[in-house]
């Protein structure tokens, strides 16, 4: 993997209880598949997808900065799919810090997976970078008749936590593309904003650059 292959590289990590459909979401997005009877993930799965963001969306982020010239065509998403099981927690936690975005997933037909969200948020608080973008995803909307968590409840929760919320179905491919591509757009616009902020606060002569760097979002 050479660094020249893409303009941006973002790491997205999926987390959430076991069996809420994290692997299926990733499979659907990266390979267009919905493998029935998907086994539990061991440790972490790792997938890469290069996506093209169309001109219009790039324009939106262009507005953020006149300095930046948009030589942007595509970018690479690295998607880390983590195991939901407790015994892999220490492995999955080690990926939080370098993540640009976290997709916190629960199963709308499983009250328990929703009730665990605060616990996951605590983990994010503890291990992830403070710049991380977190998206809450309610998966399995194809099983609407078995729904246990109402959309309203989830929306209220995500609003209180200041998270973007989306309901998806990996099986029917509902909102899956939207989830990842919207996230990519947001990541791009934040990255551009950051570059802008960095270039504005370039060091004054004699002052030396403020020595502590932003740890995330350094795209060389």
């Amino acid at each position: 993997m050479s660094m020249e292959d893409y303009d941006f590289l973002f790491k997205i990590v999926l987390i959430g209880n076991a069996g809420v459909g994290k692997t299926c979401l990733v499979r659907r997005f990266t390979q267009g598949l919905f493998p029935p009877g998907q086994g539990a993930t061991i440790g972490v799965d790792f997938m890469i997808k290069t996506v093209e963001i169309n001109g219009e969306k790039v324009k939106v982020s262009e507005r953020l900065s006149d300095v930046l010239i948009c030589g942007f065509t595509g970018k690479e998403l690295q998607i880390w799919d983590t195991a939901g099981q407790e015994r892999f927690r220490s492995i999955t936690q080690s990926y939080y810090r370098s993540a640009n975005a976290l997709i916190l997933t629960y199963d709308i037909t499983c009250e328990e997976s929703f009730r665990c969200l605060p616990e996951w948020l605590r983990e994010i608080e503890q291990y992830a970078s403070n710049k991380v973008i977190t998206v809450l995803v309610g998966n399995k909307i194809d099983l609407a008749e078995r729904r246990e968590v109402s959309q309203q409840r989830a929306e209220e929760f995500s609003e209180a936590q200041d998270m973007y919320y989306l309901e998806t179905s990996a099986k029917e491919s509902d909102n899956v593309e939207k989830l990842f591509l919207d996230l990519a757009c947001r990541l791009i616009s934040e990255a551009r904003q950051n570059t802008l902020v960095n270039s504005v606060s370039s060091p004054l002569p004699g002052e030396g650059k403020s020595i502590s760097y932003l740890t995330c979002c350094n795209f060389n």
């Binding site: 790792f46 997938m47 220490s90 492995i91």
Partner: protein, 784 residues
């Protein structure tokens, strides 16, 4: 009214060559003409009709021209008539012949087909007779064999009977000898049941007595009786018992091991080795029998049974391990320490042996699982060579499920999960200790903590690698990245933030130099006050050592990355970790490598700081003294300058003294960087003071001499060429050295030759104006 109908009539009748024909061809109908009353319109229509008439005439002429050709073609066609009749006759004859031949062939082949059918029937009849004879033979054979306790023979007969076509037997029963065959069949079925009972019983007895030859003997008989599953399950029961016995013995040995034993620290890993090697040996020994007598693709079943016993034994060993090594208590203690620093800290060194042991245990189980995977998949491959893709996938899924979901896998994943947290603690605490115990020895460029920290990080990642688990390795790489990037980098960062202390003398000088520097120096002072160094020298040294440390860190990270890469190729070649392992590892490693750049950035910041506080404020006054040396001189002064150098020698001496301090205590790379910064500064500042001075011809010559000495000196202290940095100054010296204003034209524009001017025309004029002996008008008149 008849006229009204005429156009339709004319449509059907071919048009006569002239007259009414116009009514058909023309778009203008007769009615239209009649309805016209205006002369003008009539004339217009007339004109159009005339035009149309001309067109028609032209067409007619063309058609008439073709008449000849058509006639000659007709003649040729007439001549061909008789030939065609002849051909038709021939064709009819040929068709007749073909039909005849066809019929003949049909007749012949139908006879052959009948013969074929007869032959097949005959074969079937013979086969059936054979089968019936076989049946009888089997019946007799079974009886004798059973009487002689020749179970192999009996089983072979039963096997033969089971292989017979059931429909044949059914047909035979309907024949004349039905009753006899019935009786035979009944006897055979009884014999089959009896044999099954006997074999099962004898097998059980043999198993109990541990009589391997007998066990194997009966094991081979099961598949002949169609009892593959049962045979494998019974046989593995026997094997499992062996595994259990051996394992229990081993565990007892472990519990009795003396703590002083050489391998006491990794005794549980050794127990794993013994257990897994034992099972591997069993698989190795019995795979040929299974393959020969049960066919390929059956090894999975055998191992599935064996794995149950393996799991049971693993559970026992791990239980003992957890108890004896206080694994869970240690983990909880570490967890408390990580969460809450107030509690009494566990000594990281105490964790060392247990961490090593648990990674070894995992390595053993990974090796064992990959052994099973290889054996089973190659066995499936042979068995499924003709099977459909679906069956193959189904088998692959079964295999994955067996290996991923077995208790061994789960237990080890759990242990490794806890291990990672403890290893992280070990790394963090030991790094903290190394930082706390940091010492600097005179004559060294770096202090002890850099080597120590990288030794620790390498050790921890290396240990994770030795677990053979890619996820565990990647997690440790991630944690090491975090540790280096934030915690350890912060340590170095904070040291650099204390700044390079300025001396009092410098402060005064700086205060005089410029207001910006006053502000800056007071900032420096602020920093200076807060730190706890005994003396300025110590603070200076600390800063320089930290710079060296930062550089070495950046290098060490790159080295670490390379080492890990080569270490891991071995692991990947073994095929451990699945298809994504390499990609996962590469991604984590590139994050680690990126930290190297962050240290490099930090180094640049440090250098800028050093340049700003230590170099610039010192160098600037030295350069400023240039202003106090007149370059508007006579022959006599010029000669005097020759003997008593007014500026440059002292300046060079000062630079040399200043840089010597840094050369001794900075690594060559950093020193190079620093000199580069210094030379750039000298070039810029010297240009500034030159532009503030005035020169005459001899003064220009003097400056040229001074610049040459300076460049000559700076060339000796830098490794790369500095000519480029001094290009503008050299060109200024050239200008200041001119005899007269117009001489510049010998060097300018088309005459510049290899020289690339770095000065703009305006700047050239500005420099020329520094010569007091040049007239302003002359300079203005110049065309540049």
């Amino acid at each position: 009214m008849a006229d009204l109908n005429s156009p339709q009539k004319l449509l059907r009748v071919p048009p006569p060559p002239e007259g009414v024909g116009g009514g058909r061809c023309s778009e203008i109908s007769t009615e239209l003409i009649r309805s016209l009353t205006e002369l003008q319109e009539l004339e217009a229509v007339y004109e159009r009709l005339c035009g149309e008439e001309k067109v028609v005439e032209r067409e007619l002429d063309a058609l008439l021209e073709q008449q000849n050709t058509i006639e000659s073609k007709m003649i040729t066609l007439h001549r061909m008539g008789p030939n065609l009749q002849l051909i038709e006759g021939d064709a009819k004859q040929l068709a007749g012949m073909i039909t005849f031949t066809c019929n003949l062939a049909e007749n012949v082949s139908s006879k052959v087909r009948q013969l074929d059918l007869a032959k097949n029937r005959l074969y079937q009849a013979i086969q059936r007779a054979d089968d019936i004879l076989d049946l009888k033979f089997c019946m007799d054979g079974v009886q004798t064999a059973l009487r002689n306790e020749d179970y192999e023979q009996a089983a072979a007969h039963i096997h033969r009977y089971l292989c017979l076509d059931k429909s044949v037997i059914e047909l035979s029963r309907q024949g004349k000898e039905g009753s006899m065959i019935d009786a035979n069949l009944k006897l055979l079925q009884e014999a089959e049941q009896r044999l099954k009972a006997i074999v099962t019983e004898k097998f059980t007895i043999a198993t109990k007595e541990g009589d391997l030859p007998q066990v194997e003997r009966f094991f081979k008989i099961f598949p002949l009786l169609g009892l593959h599953e049962e045979g494998l399950s019974k046989f593995s029961e026997y094997l499992c018992k062996q595994v259990a016995n051996k394992s229990e013995e081993n565990l007892l040995l472990v519990l009795g091991t003396d703590m002083s034993d050489r391998r006491a620290a990794i005794i549980f890993a050794d127990t794993f080795t013994l257990l897994f090697e034992g099972i591997a040996r069993i698989v190795e020994t019995h795979q040929p029998i299974v393959e020969t007598y049960y066919g390929p693709g059956r090894l999975y079943t055998l191992i599935k049974y064996l794995q149950v016993e393996c799991d049971r034994q693993v559970e026992k060993v791990v239980d003992k391990f957890i108890k004896q090594r206080n694994y869970h208590q240690q983990f909880r203690h570490v967890q408390n320490n990580l969460r809450n620093s107030a509690t009494e800290k566990i000594e990281p060194r105490e964790l060392d042996p247990i961490l090593t042991e648990v990674t070894l245990m995992n390595a053993r189980s990974e090796l064992y699982l990959s052994f099973l995977r290889k054996r089973i998949s190659s066995d499936f491959e042979v068995g499924d060579s003709m099977a459909s893709e679906e069956v193959k996938q189904e088998h692959q899924k079964c295999l994955d499920k067996l290996l991923n979901n077995c208790l061994l896998s789960c237990t080890m994943q759990e242990l490794i999960g806890l291990y990672i947290t403890m290893e992280e603690y070990f790394m963090r605490e030991t790094v903290n200790k190394a930082v706390a115990l940091d010492t600097y020895e005179k004559g060294q460029l770096t202090s002890s903590m850099v080597d120590d920290v990288f030794y620790i990080v390498k050790k921890c990642i290396g240990r994770a690698l030795s677990s053979s688990s890619i996820d565990c390795l990647c997690a440790m790489i991630n944690l090491a990245t975090t540790e280096l990037e934030s915690d350890f980098r912060d340590v170095l960062c904070n040291k650099l933030r204390m700044g390079f202390p300025a001396t009092t003398l410098q402060d005064i000088q700086r205060g005089v130099t410029s207001a910006v520097n006053i502000m800056h120096s007071s900032l420096q002072q602020g920093k200076f006050d807060t730190k706890g160094f005994e003396s300025t020298d110590e603070a200076k040294l600390s800063f320089l050592v930290t710079l060296n440390n930062v550089e070495i860190c950046s290098e060490n990270i790159s080295t670490l990355k390379k080492t890990l890469e080569s270490d891991c190729t071995k692991l990947f070649n073994q095929g451990i970790g699945g298809e994504q392992a390499q990609a996962k590892f590469d991604s984590c490693l590139s994050d680690l490598a990126a930290v190297s750049n962050k240290f490099r950035d930090l180094l640049q910041e440090g250098l800028t700081e050093l340049n700003n506080t230590a170099i610039k404020p010192q160098v600037q006054p030295w350069i400023n003294t240039f202003l106090s040396v007149s370059h508007n001189i006579e022959e006599e002064e010029f000669n005097d300058y020759e003997a008593n150098d007014p500026w440059v020698q002292q300046f060079i001496l000062n630079l040399e003294q200043q840089m010597a301090e840094f050369k001794a205590s900075l690594s060559p790379v950093i020193y190079d960087n620093l000199t580069s910064l210094m030379t750039s500064f000298v070039a810029v500042e010297l240009e500034r003071v030159v532009l503030k001075s005035t020169f005459n011809r001899l003064g220009g010559l003097q400056f040229d001499k001074e610049l040459r000495s300076l460049i000559a000196y700076l060339t000796t202290v830098t490794t790369w060429t500095i000519r480029d940095k001094f290009a503008r100054l050299s060109q200024m010296a050239t200008i200041l050295n001119l005899e007269r204003v117009t001489e510049i034209l010998d060097y300018w524009g088309a005459n510049s030759g290899p020289l690339t001017w770095r000065l703009t025309p305006a700047e050239v004029r500005q420099v020329l104006a520094l010569r007091i002996d040049f007239r302003n008008e002359d300079i203005k008149r110049l065309r540049l």
